[in-house]
Amino acid sequence: MIENFAPKLARVLTEYSVPIQRGDLVMINAPIEALPLIEALYEAVLARGGHPVSVPALPSLRDILVRNATDEQLDFLNPLAMTMMEKADVLYSILAPSNTMSGAQVPPERSARLQKAQRPVMETYFKRSFEGSLRWNICAWPTQAAAQQAEMGLLAYSEFIYRACALDQPDPVAHWQAVAERQDRLIAWLAGKERVEVRGPGVDLAFRLDGGRTWINCRGDKNFPDGEIFTCPLEDSVNGTVAFSYPTISGGREVRGISLTFENGRVVRASAEHGEDYLLSQLDLDDGARTLGEFAIGTNKGIQRFTGETLFDEKIGGTIHMALGQSIEEAGGTNKSQIHWDIVHSMRNGGEIWVDGDLFYQNGDFVMEA
């Protein structure tokens, strides 16, 4: 059995992911299930001279709110949440669900109403994050609920996270620094190239990257664990088909066997073996939902299995993922949508990525590195 790895994880989060400076106001946003990591982060932030603040959430309170609140109460915006989002220098969010399906029976209009009421907080988050005045990171702490969703026992799941975070490496901070450098080299090679073709079992897709599109190095600063490089394809340039090898779990709903056909950047045909109605309803949510907002390559070889948690699944070494909907400004994307739905596809069985006619990636490895 592995020891309590929260102090080790907290060290990487405060030293490497978001280096804490003296005087930083650091908000730790987490449910009570993450207690060991909340404590360890709190201690690590104090040690680096920051001011840690945490009001751990009780998940049952949200369930009670959703069940019992009047419309007026659903529309209420907690002023404390707003103040924290305006004032914090650093925000750590820890994923540690007590029940991954607790929202499955909630009438969609009630959850939408609740979400809408929180919009000012989210807008402040996006604005301050874009300006650079708010640094943030999303990480995970093992719970029985997440383990059950991954079809694992808690011990097996804890080991899975431990390895995914590279805490099994002799010096995890050095490991993540090396990840950042390696991905920098890949991105330097990709810089200025324009035409991408993705081929292999289940995928035959092409798109363009001109018009100021860049590749972004996801090195463990905003997500932890991490390991991907991504870009935003030119919105009307995507053509071809993909039959995703992995399912997705979104809003407590599993959709699997998703097939998409793109024509000039829009999904013109979509089907799923399970959850097709939900897929189609999401695609018709708004004008931008049928456009590809992101194309990414997962690079974390410490993650080798699907768990149903996107934070991990999209990083699986040897996979690519694509997100429908909202694109990311940082990479030059211009698509707008309420959704940003990541779907993962395995490339290990002969998948290839060609860039401007050169073979860049094959069977889950970067050919350019060989």
Partner: protein, 375 residues
């Protein structure tokens, strides 16, 4: 919210399901971390009735009852896996009544453990199961399995814990003005049904997705009234092994060893499932049917009668009791209903009859659309 869920449930369990008498030794097995309130309420109720409560708060008999099952199965040597803990055998031999409180912290806890190790330890503790079943058959021991709401069960049912609590509360009949009187009335209602069925033989089941016939040839129907399982609500029999003919396309999924199998279709010819298919996890279905000679024979035919169980929750203890459904089990049959089929499997599959399903017995309409047509 419920003010006294655990106390009310403990009262029915010790008063109705397994009435505890002064001087009885009563073992309560359940995971202290997830079933705490009910364990405490059972101790209180057993004390109040003059019994001697013995709590086994982490018994290594299934992941439902201990937080350490995954740890043990991962780390134990073969020698340790083969070791039968004598204290388990002590209380199964010495108790007058057992309460098993199922409150899993993770319904997939064993999915990541080597199946060979799981099977090896199950063989080790087989004497435990054999002892309580044989002592029950000799009438020297009573046992009752019940459930306590956990996040894991709620997640499996795709519900929040609050909604799941309400669901179980109603399944237990705790929303009735006098739950014990409600269950006593329930017992009498099922006694009358079983009495009516006595001595008859020919059954035809018809309706959406089903067209099946079998004989039970005087074999008894058993009244499942909450003594062994709680919540409860079914009557069942064992069809004559070679008499089953027809088809069924089950409209509920079924969960087997933690895997969901959907859209199961079976065709029986002279008692054997000669055709079988499934829309999801068909390979698991077929491998289990061929696990041994008895895997393709129907071991049980049952009617679920609990109107408080209103939805499917991926938990066989509850799903097979849904009022308005029938279920059939492939594999091993029960001796109490004079079944003769032997198999390593007993796989319950549930079919909804609410949309016009009918059961005819000796040419008389016995059941239609979820309701009984006889007095």
């Amino acid at each position: 919210m419920h003010e006294s869920f655990a106390r009310d449930l403990a009262r029915i369990l010790t008063d109705y399901s397994s009435p505890v008498k002064p001087g009885e030794r009563v073992t309560i097995a359940g995971n202290i971390e997830t079933a705490g309130p009910l364990l405490e309420a059972l101790v209180e109720a057993v004390l109040a009735r003059g019994g001697f409560p013995n709590v086994q708060a982490a018994a290594m008999i299934s992941p439902d009852y201990t937080p350490y099952y995954e740890l043990f199965l991962r780390e134990a040597s073969d020698e340790q896996l083969d070791h039968l803990d004598s204290t388990i055998m002590h209380w199964v031999n010495e108790s007058d009544a057992l309460f098993f409180v199922k409150a899993p912290a993770n319904t997939k806890a064993l999915s990541s453990v080597d199946p060979a190790r799981v099977a090896r330890y199950r063989r080790t503790i087989q004497p435990f199961g054999e002892t309580y079943l044989s002592r029950y058959a000799e009438r020297t021991l009573r046992w009752t399995v019940c459930a306590w709401p956990t996040q894991a069960l709620a997640q499996t049912a795709e519900m929040s814990l609050l909604d799941y609590r309400d669901f179980l509360y109603a399944a237990y009949g705790l929303d009735q003005p006098d739950p014990v009187a409600y269950w006593e009335g329930f017992r009498e209602m099922q006694d009358r049904l079983v009495e009516w069925l006595k001595g008859k033989s020919h059954v035809e089941v018809r309706g959406p997705g089903i067209d099946l016939s079998f004989e039970y040839d005087g074999r008894p129907w058993i009244n499942c009234d909450g003594q062994l399982n709680f919540p409860d609500g079914e009557i069942f029999t064992s069809p004559v092994e070679d008499s089953v003919n027809g088809t069924v396309a089950f409209n509920y999924p079924s969960v087997y060893q933690g895997y969901e199998v959907e859209g199961v279709r079976l065709r029986f010819e002279n008692g054997r499932a000669v055709e079988a298919s499934a829309a999801k996890n068909e390979a698991l279905l077929l491998s289990q049917l061929d696990v041994d000679e008895g895997g393709r024979t129907l071991g049980e035919f049952a009617i679920g009668t609990n109107k408080g169980v209103t939805r499917y929750t991926r938990n066989t203890l509850l799903d097979e009791k849904i009022g308005g459904t029938i279920h059939m089990a492939l594999g091993r049959s029960y001796a109490e209903s004079h079944g003769k089929n032997q198999s390593a499997i007993h796989w319950d599959m549930v079919h909804g009859m609410q949309d016009g399903g009918e059961i005819w017995v000796e040419g008389e309409l016995f059941y239609r659309a979820g309701g009984f047509m006889v007095k």
